[in-house]
């Protein structure tokens, strides 16, 4: 058995090649029974197929054990032979492999998790642990968990393998449909974020799709993980020819896609259903001896359920109502182990805007552990959203975190070294984000005391290597018990300024007081103004939620999710490129308003909303371009109706001398024009003197310079120097593939715009005199 670190070192050196399909190879040789049975019945055939892959150039051979787990074998009455099947499989692979790696192969059980099916986390865990134990005893170099379609089952398998061995290389793979979702709704981003926390070495995708369809799904995964990456596409989607299932992609057709996977950062490449030793032989030739490319992970702070990822890049409402404190009926239902009531509470809150649900089981010693585990496992599947596990007892918390299908919030830990260490330990093992409550043995009253707790917490978290997986809660105390809300607000600001996320148990403030809604709402607004990132609150409180929505808009912090742009007819018309309808709308408006008002009050704000939708990922670049293209003739027509003094500020744009790339520049020009500016587009490969003279003549609000290549960005400096030499103080905005904010500054530019909508935003700021 090779050490985990040895396999990792090999993967840092070069991209390895995995073998191909086994089932079809057995069939070719006339064996159509359960493949795992062949390990006992015809081990020579298993050996022969392994050899064919070794001779084709595979670096890694998988054992013939995809279905060799107790639950799966039981379906064929073979569970009693598990031990012999697995041992024989590893021995055959090892015998055939020469010095190649042997990975133990484990597939899913085929049983859906409760409540979609009947399987519990523990069922899955025990099932995989048994096979993994035998594999490790037989000395596999790694274990690959492949074709999993459910997050919880895969998590159980990972934990089971790790409990067997901390030193075996472990790969966790899921299978996705053409829409990029697994059977139980997980997308590759959720997969990456959830499993980044767990102790696995590599993540991957296999089966269901051909290489072409798998590319975007793989790329999404690769952008969000630092772990090694494995991919095994099928040889296309199966078709039926003469009554037989055939996978249509020939080795040549398949190989064309290898470069794309390589460029996306693959570390192990192989084939799934329909691939043959001929495929692997050609893959070997095309892949050659390549060093893996380095990837950079896009970091995002998020929690997940099987089908939803909630990023904390906007204000997040954590529903507080699954908490029996002060709710006698709910408490009774919990004691009766009623799951329906929890589901109803959850659904109502999600419908009213909760993105995460806090789950608190009251007096934990009185609640059945099995019930807690069932609720924690099933609620995310039924309601869809991630949970905040508000569990204090360490043992119960471990049970809950273990069976949770995703990356939860864990609410919470006080700032005490032992408690933090234990709770971080649990999250390192099971995954998740920790809410750190800024209190210890004493409950702080003042900002200074809370600040001290924060510093202490950060020191401990740094030692534990966990400071990037926490949210801080300053601790809200009831007003009636000397709560001092202003001290809490100061703490929120302090934490936010330090770059950390915050949350509050909002309703604590008004505990025991009348008019709770108003107190809570007012406090929430004040806390938002200090930078609060989330709150554990009651989403059924309409006044609170409406106040929250309004405050977010007033503070320029965007909207709560689920607020669709409905009824914004003009934006819909613009984005869909319906020029005729837009013309009609503008004609009607011109009957009531003057042309300048139509521009300033209707069209320009509409395009700003379109830009915002693009920034938020609600529309795509082609839609932004089409929107700009649609609005342009309308602006032209309105400009004709305006006196020259009111035709909008000029904006000069050019691609610098020596550069002939102008697509990006054209798009920026078009979008800026569609926001009501008079764009003077000088084109590409423009002499510095022409640019400067145009600026002198047009006196624009700003000058836009585009440069794509490293050899041409230096021309920006030339333009800036010439402008300054002539005492022209026009702000210079630059953009292009080789540029970034730092380089732009070094070149003397005033602004760097990474895309068209950012350029519009800069112009708006300039116009507003900011």
């Amino acid at each position: 058995m090779r050490k985990r670190s040895d396999v990792a070192r090999m993967l840092e050196e070069r991209v390895l090649l995995l073998d191909g399909a086994y089932g079809t190879e057995f069939m070719k040789r006339g064996y159509e029974e359960v493949p795992e049975l062949l390990n006992l019945k015809a081990p020579n055939v298993v050996y022969e197929v392994h050899r064919s892959y070794v001779e084709s150039g595979a670096d890694v051979i998988l054992t013939n054990t995809f279905g060799a787990t107790p639950m799966k074998l039981k379906k064929h009455g073979l569970d009693v032979d598990l031990e012999r099947i697995v041992r024989s499989a590893v021995q055959m692979a090892r015998k055939a492999a020469d010095d190649r790696l042997v990975f133990g192969d484990l597939g899913p059980t085929g049983e859906l998790p409760y409540p979609l099916g009947t399987a519990t986390f523990d069922d899955y865990y025990e099932n995989f642990k048994e096979t993994a134990r035998i594999m490790v005893e037989e000395g596999v170099d790694g274990i690959i968990l492949e074709t999993f379609s459910d997050l919880l089952e895969l998590k159980a398998a990972v934990l089971a393998v790790r409990d067997v061995s901390k030193d075996v290389f472990l790969v966790a793979q899921m299978t996705f449909d053409e829409k990029g979702r697994s059977l139980t709704g997980t997308d590759p981003l959720t997969f990456a974020v959830t499993f980044e926390d767990l102790d696995v070495d590599a993540l991957g995708i296999n089966c269901s799709l051909g290489p072409d369809e798998m590319v975007p799904i793989f790329q999404e995964l690769s952008q969000h993980t630092e772990k090694f990456l494995v991919v095994e596409p099928n040889a296309g989607r199966p078709i039926v020819v003469d009554g037989k299932t055939v996978y249509p992609l020939t080795p040549e057709m398949f190989s064309v896609h290898i470069d794309t996977f390589y460029e996306s950062g693959v570390n192990v490449f192989g084939g799934c259903c329909g691939t043959t030793p001929e495929h692997i032989r050609l893959f070997r030739k095309v892949m050659g001896e390549r060093r893996p490319l380095k990837r950079k992970r896009r970091k995002l702070f998020a929690v997940t359920s099987p089908s939803k990822i909630v990023r904390f890049d906007h204000f997040v409402v954590i529903g507080e109502r699954i908490n029996p404190s002060g709710r006698k009926k709910l408490w009774e239902k919990m004691l009766e182990k009623d799951e329906k009531v929890i589901v109803e509470e959850g659904k109502q809150q999600v419908e009213r805007g909760a993105e995460v649900l806090d789950v608190n089981f009251g007096i934990e010693s009185m609640v059945d552990t099995g019930y807690v585990k069932r609720v924690v496992q099933s609620l995310p599947y039924v309601v869809g959203v991630p949970l905040s596990l508000d569990v204090q007892d360490l043992r119960l918390a471990e049970e809950a975190l273990r069976v949770y299908p995703g990356r939860p919030l864990f609410n919470s830990s006080k700032v005490e070294e032992k408690e933090l260490e234990q709770k971080v330990g649990l999250l390192k093992r099971y995954g998740g984000v920790l809410v750190v409550l800024l209190m210890g043995k004493d409950v702080p009253k003042t900002f200074e005391e809370r600040k001290e707790y924060l510093e202490r917490a950060l020191n401990i978290l740094k030692t534990l290597g966990f400071e990037d997986r926490v949210i801080f809660d300053p601790g809200v105390l009831p007003l009636g018990a000397d709560g001092r809300p202003l001290e809490v607000l100061k703490t929120v600001r302090h934490i936010s300024e330090k770059g950390f996320l915050t949350t509050l148990g909002l309703s604590n403030l008004s505990f025991g007081l009348p008019n709770r809604t108003y107190l809570n709402s007012a406090f929430l607004v004040l806390a938002l103004n200090e930078g609060l990132s989330s709150a554990i609150a009651n989403p059924l409180d309409e006044i609170l939620m409406n106040t929250l929505r309004s405050a977010l808009v007033l503070l320029g912090r965007g909207e709560l999710p689920r607020v669709e742009v409905k009824g914004d007819e003009i934006v819909e018309v613009i984005v869909s490129g319906n020029e005729e309808k837009l013309k009609k709308i503008v004609e009607d408006l011109l009957k009531e308003k003057d042309p300048l008002s139509v521009v300033e009050e209707v069209l320009r704000p509409a395009m700003e909303r379109v830009g915002k939708m693009y920034d938020e990922g609600k529309i795509f670049l082609p839609q932004l371009i089409l929107a700009a293209q649609t609005v342009k003739p309308i602006f032209d027509r309105l400009s004709d109706l305006l006196p020259k003094s009111e035709t909008g500020e000029a904006f000069v744009i050019a691609t610098v001398k020596g550069d002939v790339h102008d697509i990006g520049k054209n798009i920026v020009a078009s979008v800026i024009r569609s926001n009501g500016y008079r764009v003077v587009d000088l084109g590409k490969d423009v002499d510095t003197s022409v640019i400067v003279e145009t600026v002198e003549k047009e006196k624009p609000i700003a000058l836009g310079l585009s440069a794509m290549m490293t050899t041409t960005v230096v021309r920006i400096r030339e333009v800036v120097d010439e402008l300054r030499r002539r005492n022209l103080t026009v702000p210079v905005i630059v953009g292009g593939a080789s540029l970034n904010e730092k380089l732009a500054e070094e070149l003397g530019a005033d602004f760097y715009a990474k895309n068209a909508s950012e350029a519009v935003r800069i112009l708006k700021e300039l116009k507003g005199g900011k």
Partner: protein, 205 residues
């Protein structure tokens, strides 16, 4: 020196690659409202593109962190990672020809920005896949050699100036030039690359 003129209809661009290039990376399908534009742009490209791929092999020698062939001496991070130690280096140039640039410019000049953008994006992938096609064929035809990763001037620390040398290498075979000072290739849908080959070990054959 070898040269192949390809029928643009034979260059297969994977659907998903195209989708991502055209700005629809985060949706599973190109929205129906845009399919018409994409189809039109693709058809126009097929009319005007004249894909040509040229390549030449050179015996190479590696010494002191540098690789030399045909009077060229290359070094740096990219060379170290992907070319150093190669016995043979293939130099590639692929282009779609002048007509594509003209068509893109026509669209932008007429205010048809979306068509211009789509045509540009599809053409960028087409020239890439024209080169990949030849690359894959070479790898299949050379069973005793292992090809590394193709590297192009302008990426990481491989100087863009090399474009001038590559264009000179294929002078007279295809109408491609380099912009003085910036080393940008014209026609714009032109790419260049180096690919290193090493002998396969006996057990790898």
């Amino acid at each position: 020196m070898s040269k192949v003129e390809l029928d643009p209809r034979e260059i297969e661009i994977p659907k998903n690659v195209l989708k991502a290039r055209l700005g629809f990376g985060r949706v599973r399908e190109i929205p129906p409202a845009f399919e018409k534009y994409v189809r039109e742009a693709y058809e126009e490209l097929l009319e005007v593109a004249t894909p040509v791929v040229l390549w030449e092999d050179f015996e190479a020698k590696s010494e002191g962190g540098k690789i030399s062939f045909d009077g060229l001496e290359l070094s740096g991070k990219l060379v170290e990672a992907h070319l150093l130690g190669s016995k043979l280096v293939t130099v590639f140039l692929a282009t779609l020809g002048e007509g594509v640039d003209e068509k893109i410019e026509e669209h932008f000049a007429r205010g048809e920005d979306l068509m211009g953008f789509f045509l540009d994006g599809i053409a960028s992938e087409m020239v890439e896949y024209a080169l990949r096609r030849v690359d894959a064929t070479l790898r299949i035809q050379r069973p005793h050699l292992l090809g590394g990763f193709k590297v192009s001037p302008g990426y990481v620390d491989l100087p863009l100036e090399l474009n001038e040398r590559i264009v000179k290498m294929f002078e007279g075979q295809v109408d491609v030039r380099v912009v003085q000072g910036s080393y940008v290739l014209v026609p714009r849908k032109t790419i260049t690359a180096f690919l290193g080959w090493r002998e396969r070990d006996a057990k790898e054959i």
